[in-house]
Structures are given as C-alpha cells and as structure tokens.
Symmetry: C2
C-alpha cells in the first residue's frame, strides 16, 4: 500500500525535512516592514526552487506588494484537483529582547512536552505550510507522482492585511480554481485533538459618535440641565443585551439555525475545558447567552461587543466637563443566517431609537463579512476527518472558529471554492509573540496527516 510507504518515508526523512524548514525559517520574511522586502522575495524564490525540486512547475508571481508563489503539478486521471494555501511571511519580532534565541536562527530544543522548533514563523505559518510540502515530497519519492492534481498557492502578505490577495485571485481565477482549497493555518483543538474548521464567525464593525451640545460644557453651569452624550451612549450600549445575555437588536436571531444534533453531540464529546480556557486569563464563569454551552458561545452564537469607548476628560486628575460628544467602537460576530448589512441596520436603528431630544448619532462602518460556513455535503470532509483520526489516535473534530480567517471566505467569494481548514498549531505556540515555536510532533504528524488526507481525498469515489 502506497500510503504506508509514504508515511514511512516521512518518518525516515524527518531530519532532512527539519533542515529544509530551518532554511526557510532563516529568511526573515517580515511582510509589514518594507526594509524586509528583499527577504520576502528570497522566501518566495526558496519556495519556488523547493517546489521545482519535487516536480512542481512553480513561479514567483510579483505583485505591487510581496510576491505570490503559484505552482502546478498533475496527478492521476480521476483524482480531484486540490489547491493548497499557506503563507510564507511572518510577524515582526519585537520586542527582540524578550527572545531567548535569535528569532531567525532556528533551533531544535528539548522542551517539557517534547522537542520544539524555535523561530519566528515556525508555527505561523512556515512550519505548517511545509507539512503539506513534505507530504507531497514523500508521496513523489515513493510513487513517482502526486496522489492528485495540486495547485500550490503561497502568499507573502498575510501578516500585513493581504492587500494583493483578492486582486490576484480575481486576475488569475481560472488558473487558481480547483475542486477544493486546503488551508493550513489553524490548530489542534485544545492542543491535542485534530480538527477541521467548518464554521467561521463573520463580523460587522461599526463606530458610533453621539453628539449633544455644540461645545464641551461646564458641569457647574449646565449639569443637571443639559444632555450628556456619555449618558446617552452608556444607555444605548447597556441596552444591547438583555438580562439573559441575549442581544436585543431587532431580528438579530431570526434566521440563525440551531446546531445540527450530530455536531452538538460531537462538540459535547470534545470535553471542552472552559474552566481552564477562562482560567488562563483570570476568569472563571461563562458570561454569555444563558442556556448555551461555552463552545456555542464562541463558535456558533453571535455576539455584540463594545471594543472601545471614549468621551469627555480622560487624562490625569479631574475635569468637570459635560462633553459635546462620546464615541464607541462596536463589533458583532456573526453566524450562519445573519446578513452583515441587516445587523448593521438593526444596530443603527437601536441607536436612533434611543436618541433623546438634542442628540444626534453619526455612524462609520469599518467593515462587514458574513460567517463562513463550509459546505460539508460531499464526502471530502468525512474522508479527511477519518484520516486525521487515524493519524492522531483520537476522533478528529469539526470545530468552529470564533474569529475570522479571511482567506476561507475569499476562496468562496472570488473563486466559488469550498475550503477545508486543517492545522496542527498548539495553544502555546506563541504565534505573533516572542519565542514562537512549533512542536516537532506538529510538524511530523502534520506531514503524516496530510499524506493520509491526500490519500483519502484522492481515492476513487
């Protein structure tokens, strides 16, 4: 059986694979700082050369920002066409003095829970990206070809807002379109359960300014008589939730489906330790919607959150001002069934309905995107889930993600492709922070996982 040989090859070649990863990690491809532009280009060139070395026809594709890498390789007739996405750019490293090693001189360390690769980008996302490449390399080494047709698509601007991504996808839609996109930029659930993200919350962000008097007033002269915009704002924001933690906006929950029973049962089997999750940040009790489990609260239920508030005098000491205006930044995490525009409209209506005489509201829309719900109707998700379970020795899970991963949405919106998010990061990887690491276990079993997933997805149906 090819798969067993491929897995054995991955095991055998692990030292060489780690050396290759170390080469890539030595390139300081920080995308947000223009001073590192040449290094981003070098990382793209390295990837092109590495893909070529395994028989992929690859090119660096320059953009007005950092380059993309696109590669194509054929597979056996009848197998699907998969696209794999990863990003080669990394976060800046400051504060540098908090690193115990050089962030661009990767080291294999013996840590308490096993060996780790310590370097910027080891987990986010060079190490994850290379798990897939190593799986492909082993497959070709063993069988002489890839298990299926594969398009490789690597980005160099993920950590700086991906300005070139959607335009590039639009301009190269025909070239990039495949049957399914695989994305490796997520993690194991609670650092141990292999997971496929099948729902991502969307978001609406909105800034509101409440205006009252034309100028700041002295509370001695006007206090008790004049409108205070901070009071008006506080009442509006307090009124966003009822006593049960439900959002009060009109229609907010109208079209949200209840969780499918099988998914609910699977989430229950995950045994999410919310006490540990909250305890790590000094909290103890779930504070969301009454009657919902903690996982529902963060994955499948929508939120209204005030992310910033300001108004009046906020400096040292005291000033008895009645301010002319008060401000808040408010965001809503959206789930299946919610339309960003409808939520934004309902919020604005809520604010306007609460405006007293002499006050006005001004709104500034910062952005909006619907929830990303993967289409699980075909066999691919169950095939991949079984494959992951075999590698990790425990049932793999379909999980939600409370945040947004824009790339998943882009594949759907721009290319009409479904995406499957699988990754092997752990909660303590310190991505975006000093001393980032990736467990050698994540790297090794990650590559093996992809070999199994490729095998499962490529099997004739």
């Amino acid at each position: 059986m090819s798969l067993d040989a491929v897995l054995a090859r991955i095991d055998d070649q692990m030292p060489q694979a780690l050396d290759r990863l170390a080469e890539l990690l030595r390139i300081p491809s920080v995308s947000t700082d223009p001073a590192y532009a040449q290094h981003c280009r070098a990382a793209a060139d390295w990837l092109v050369a590495d893909l070529e070395s395994i028989g992929v026809s690859a090119q660096r594709r320059d953009t007005s920002g950092h380059p993309m890498v696109v590669g194509h390789v054929d597979g056996p007739a009848g197998a699907p066409h998969l696209l794999f996405y990863g990003h080669y750019d990394v976060q800046p490293v400051d504060p540098l003095d908090e690193w115990r090693t050089d962030p661009f001189d990767p080291k294999i360390e013996d840590a308490a829970k096993g060996k780790v690769i310590r370097a910027r980008g080891s987990s986010d996302d060079k190490g994850q990206l290379m798990t897939f490449v190593e799986a492909c390399r082993a497959w070709r080494d063993v069988t002489g070809e890839m298990p299926c047709r594969i398009t490789f698509f690597f980005e160099g601007e993920e950590e700086s807002g991906s300005p070139s991504l959607v335009p590039f996808m639009q301009e190269n839609a025909e070239e990039l379109r495949a049957d399914l996109a695989l994305i490796c930029d997520t993690g194991l659930f609670q650092s141990e359960t292999p997971a496929i993200v099948t729902m991502l919350r969307g978001m609406v962000t909105e800034e509101v300014t409440i205006r009252g008097p034309e100028v700041d007033l002295h509370s001695g002269f006007f206090g008790g008589l004049a409108q205070n915009p901070i009071h008006v704002l506080a009442r509006m924001l307090a009124g966003l939730h009822d006593e049960t933690g439900r959002v009060t906006l009109a229609g907010f929950y109208d079209d949200i489906p209840e969780l499918a029973p099988e998914l609910r049962a699977q989430w229950e089997r995950l045994g999410f330790d919310h006490a540990a999750f909250l305890g790590a940040v000094g909290l103890s009790e779930p504070a969301g919607e009454a009657g919902r489990t903690p996982l529902e609260m963060i994955w499948s239920r929508p939120t209204a959150e005030v992310n910033g508030i300001w108004g009046g005098y906020t400096g040292a000491g005291f000033k008895t001002v009645l301010p002319a205006e008060a401000h808040a930044k408010v965001s809503f995490r959206l789930v299946e069934g919610q339309r960003p525009d409808a939520v934004r409209d309902a919020f604005r209506a809520h604010v306007k309905a609460a405006l007293p005489a002499d006050c006005t509201a001004e709104f500034h829309a910062h952005g909006g995107s619907a929830a990303g719900i993967m289409d699980m109707s075909g066999p691919a998700f169950e095939q991949a889930r079984r494959a992951l379970g075999q590698e990790w020795g425990r049932e793999a899970a379909y999980v939600g993600c409370g945040g947004s991963i824009p790339i998943a949405g882009h594949f759907g919106e721009v290319l009409g492709m479904n995406a499957m998010l699988i990754g092997f990061g752990k909660d303590d990887d310190a991505i975006h922070s000093p001393n980032e690491k990736y467990d050698v276990e994540s790297f090794h079993k990650g590559a093996r996982s992809w070999a199994r997933v490729l095998d499962a997805l490529s099997a004739p149906s």
Copy 2:
C-alpha cells in the same frame, strides 16, 4: 445724605477710576506661569500702594506662592466689621492670536451694547475687585472715613488653584476674621439682574476602574464567553439615573429640603430664559429631573454626571479587543442636606452591587465638598438686596450657583464667617477666553452698588 454725595463722587471720578483700573490691568499677573511671578508681585505692590492712598494700612504678605495683600481700616463705632475678598491674578492669554487687541494694553471700546474695558482680567477679577475699592475711595473722599471697619484681602493664586489660601487663612485667622465676608467674583443674573449668590452646589468626584480578564482578549477567541468590562461599566453608568432623570443611588435625595416658597417665587419672577440659555450651546430641552424647573436643575438639585469614559481600543481604525479594564470619571453636584462621604459611599455601593462574577472595581476619590449654603437669618442679606435693587432699578435676586466657588466655603470652614457673593460680570465677558472685557456699566454701577451696600450694612441696626 452721605450716600448721595458718595454716589455723585463715584460718577465724577469715573475717568480717574478707569485710569487706575487700566494701570492694574497693564500688569500681566498671570499666576499659573512662573515666568510671570514678578508681575504678580508688582500687582500686589500696586494694590498695597492704592489701598495706602485711601488710608488703609496695607501690606504685601509673601507666601510660598504669589503674595497676599491684607489691609485694615477702621470705621465708626457701632458699624460692623466687613472683609472684602478679590483676586488680582489673571488667566493666561493664549491663544494670543485670537485677541483683537493687546490683552495687557487695556482699551475703552464702544461696543454694540455700550462701552467696554477690553483686557485680560478686566472682568475676572481686577475690574470687579476695583469696584469695591473705588466705592471705599469715594466714601473716604466725601466723609473722611470708611462707613465701617473693613479688612481687605486680595489673593494672587485664584486662577491657579489657590494653594496658599487656606494655610494663610489658618495662620492669620484672628487677623482676618470679621462679621461678614464680601466677595466680588460673580455676575449679574442673565447679564441684567443684580444678584446675591446664596447657594453653591458642592461636589464629589470619583474615578472608577472595572477590571475583568487579566489581559486584553481577542474577541474572536473569547467574544460571547468572556466578561467585557466596558459592558459592565456601561450598565452601571446607565443605571445611575431612572427614566425620570432621578439619580438612583440609595439615600441620594433623603435629606434634601424643598425650596422655600418665597425663594421659589422669587426664582419664578426671574423669568429665566432656559431656551436661550440652552440654545446658545445648541440644545433646546431641559434634560434633567422630571418635574423640576430649569433653575432648580442647575442650582438646587443634585446631579450625577459622567465626565469621562475610556476603555479598549480608541485609536484610528478598528481592533476587536475585549479589554481587561474600563474607566470612568464621575462627579456628583451636591446640594443642601447631602454629605459628600455618604454620596461617595452610595456610588461605590451601586457599583459593587452591579459587579458580575469575575469583575472587580477600583475607586479613586478625587475630592469632595458639601454645598455652600449662606446663612440668611440676619438682616444683612435683605439690606444688601434692597440696596442693589435701588441701584439697578429692578428687584435684586437671591440666586444659586451650580458650580463651586471654593473661597466662600473657606470663609465658613476656616474662619467661621458667612459670605455674601455679589458681582457685576456679564455672560459675554469672555473670562478665561480671548478678548475678555468688562462693561463700563458693570464697573460704574458696580462701584455705586458697593457704596449702597456698604451704606445699608453700616446703618445702625
């Protein structure tokens, strides 16, 4: 009759009086800027010399800040002993480019409503201070003596927090104590009705910090599950008032007396134009406690106001943070019957009662002072009110002041003296702003008013 002669003398000598005021206004006695310290000293010396010129035994009394001026002069036996307070220091003049004339080169200008003296300090407080000195000068010119024993007490730090005032009063209590303090640092009601301030609101200022998670959280990972301190704070602040605008703190209104019927009737006769008062700052409707008149709202009813609020991300763009803490600065204007400590305690209890699990509150007391209620039981207030009415040709009013004038409280607390606040400023004097002015009418009729008040208070009872 002496009074008529004194009034005629004031009229005759108005050109000279304006010249004297101009001399004082030319001294740039800005107290808050150390670069002007010698000018503050010069202003004090000028006042000492001017008081000496009218037979007052006066001294510059140095402090660790700017000097005080203290003068004493005897009067006929049987007449009361009055103390007169004013301040010779002025506000800074910036933004200087908004002044149409040199702020320290006083000019008499013909303005739409009559002649004005244009200069920094013309209204606040050099012009007001000199109304009293000119009345005394005329009295002595005509009668050869003062109408009663008078202590003059001028301060040079009123615009910079009066750091030396209370210590100086304490150290010189015996010397400063008199039967009644007269203070000239207030205005005409609605710029036309002579007024004696008989009630000043007190204040409690408090800063509160609500803490939730130990660190700022990402709303994608934690949103919907974790406490958001901004929400907790917004609920607490929204809960400070009920739907009728009443403050909800326990016991807040318990010991507040209703307005005496005669005072209520007098306030009604004032015909306060709240539409114009609010209209000037872009508002139209009284927003305070239901069932109270606008004057009650600002003079005789207490308030709870949020003067500042901040938390989370307040910069440009958007950040979906769940902040670890949120803050507010809250003040309460107090009226007769309220104790600052009790109000502070009730606020803290309100906050603590609203704290959910996992949240804590930290309080920082910024200050507190009870309302200042003048003792009107003797005949002096009615005597002064009648005298003012005679000068201005309309009934003089007892008014409230929504803000605090600390000096009035200091006379009561440190020296056990009652204070009578009479002043002639107008609403458009632009004190603390560019192009400050004092109407020549205020200066002239102000001096005449003091002559009448001195006559009324000095009459054998």
